[in-house]
Amino acid sequence: MADALLRVERLSVALPTRTGYHKAVDDLSFAVDAGEVMGIAGESGSGKTITALSLFGLLPHGARVTGSIQLDGTELTAMTSKQLRAIRGRQIAMVSQDPATSLHPILPIGTQLTEHMRHHLGVSKPEARSRAADLLATVRIPDPERALRSYAGQFSGGMRQRIAIAVALAAEPRLLVADEPTTALDVTVQAGILRLLDRLCRERGLAVIVITHDLGVMSATAGRLCVMYAGRLAEAGPTAELLTRPRHPYTRGLLDALPHPEAAGAALVPIGGSVPSLGRVPDGCPFHPRCRYARPSCATDRPEPGPVAPAHLLACPPDPLRAAS
């Protein structure tokens, strides 16, 4: 896809630990177009948050990045901090999990929105204020004028997340990265936020990357999905296909672990074992110790993502025994 808005190629991020450098993200590639929602799924320890941070150049001190991150053709990994600062907020923006910490507790909402706008867009104060009110109306905050004068603490969790989204959109970015945007919210509130993200994406041609472990959220919002495990790509492709016909044993395991409408009353089926921590990733396929279908070669041969169907990548060697799901 030559006109992808964001193109990540062979991204690897190595983090310093007590036992040396270890890869938190290992040879990851994906692309996102304008107007589409792409999901990055994985449990904690999968490297999904580090991936998000690397898009912003906000990695922990000492991190080593290899590979390429191109935003509309511009290489982000080669940028200086000054250049990155100009990009953050203006071209890409982030909404993170905890609205309590992403909004400033002491500045009025209006100030948080207008300052951001004026810094990046250079508009006048009255203009910024009027745009801020419009933004709050877009994210369905009641009584926007009053909200501009209010403080973060006066709003509920769901409202704060909407405001955080408004702040993220203030400088009119082209890509929005939402890291577990609804995990801390009640389910009805989550539904509202998901609908909002969907609408914003359609109305503004925004590209959105949703990062979450919740496959239900993925199913509802993301058109395409990347499943990550221990820093590597396990499977990627259209969400509908991955969730109905998962090819990678890990994806299948994640789906099986979910409560099933038909199997109510039966025990839940968790994936045995646990996610390997940084530096303890097994050789060969990182999932093989927990994999039902593991063969001897899985312990030594590292699977590379390869196409199994149009736009469907799989990092797992073909096996006729488990062809059907």
Partner: protein, 302 residues
Amino acid sequence: MSQARGRRRLRPAAPPALRRPLALAGLAVIGAWAVIAIFAPLVAPDNPLAQKFTILAGPSAGHWFGTDELGRDVFSRVLFGARITLPLAVILILAAMIIGSVIGGVAGYFGGWVDNVLMRLADLVFAFPGIILALAIAAALGPQLRNAVIAVVVVSWPSYARLVRSLVLSARSAQYVVASRLLGASGVRILFTDIRPNAAGPVLVLAALDIGNAVLLLSGLSFLGLGAQPPTAEWGAMVAEGALNFNDWWVGLFPGLAILTVVLAFNFIGDALRDLLDPRTARAVRATGTRLWPMRCCGSSG
């Protein structure tokens, strides 16, 4: 459960407390003084009370620290002085720690009027500068070493009480305490089995840092004539004599240096203990001690 294996390449950026030269020096100094205190009669060249030498002779080969105005060997007196100061300071701090901890624990756990009464008592003591109050108490009880010790204990216990009270207050609402209460544990049991292990650390740190204070207070009282009485060789009293014989600098300097080294040594040890018990650096210390950093603590869950 994590079995810590892994390569022994550690990041040099994390300084473990045990490697701190100051703490080791402190331990060495205290160790040396302890040995001296125990073996003083064997190590000291002369009887500390024998007044048979040349009066006010400067340091020489025969008398490393010179002699005082009564013809006693200062070196021997300094060595014997350790036998008084060190054990008394330790006993003193232990007493203050125990009394203060019990009072603070009871006040913090039971609250209400008990808490009020006990803390007002502590406030009463806090209202006075330590040395002044100790002075008054020692003077009232009579000029004796035993009374000086009592005076310093009275002055010292409130710090422990306040510390333990605040530790207990914060621990009281901790979920593991609530869990114990649901199992049927009584207040006393919770204080001893659940709260004490968590409070012990900070209290020990306070004690280590406080010993230096105790030594100073005790010596101060002796200096003022309210502690050790002549002819006992006690460092504070010796410094007092030194003040009277200012030109003969060796009489006061060496006992003063003895006090200094002990107080500094305890301070260094106390600092290291505090770092050791700070949860953030504690893991770093344990890591260098017996096993490496357990990787599980780096944020995986499940």
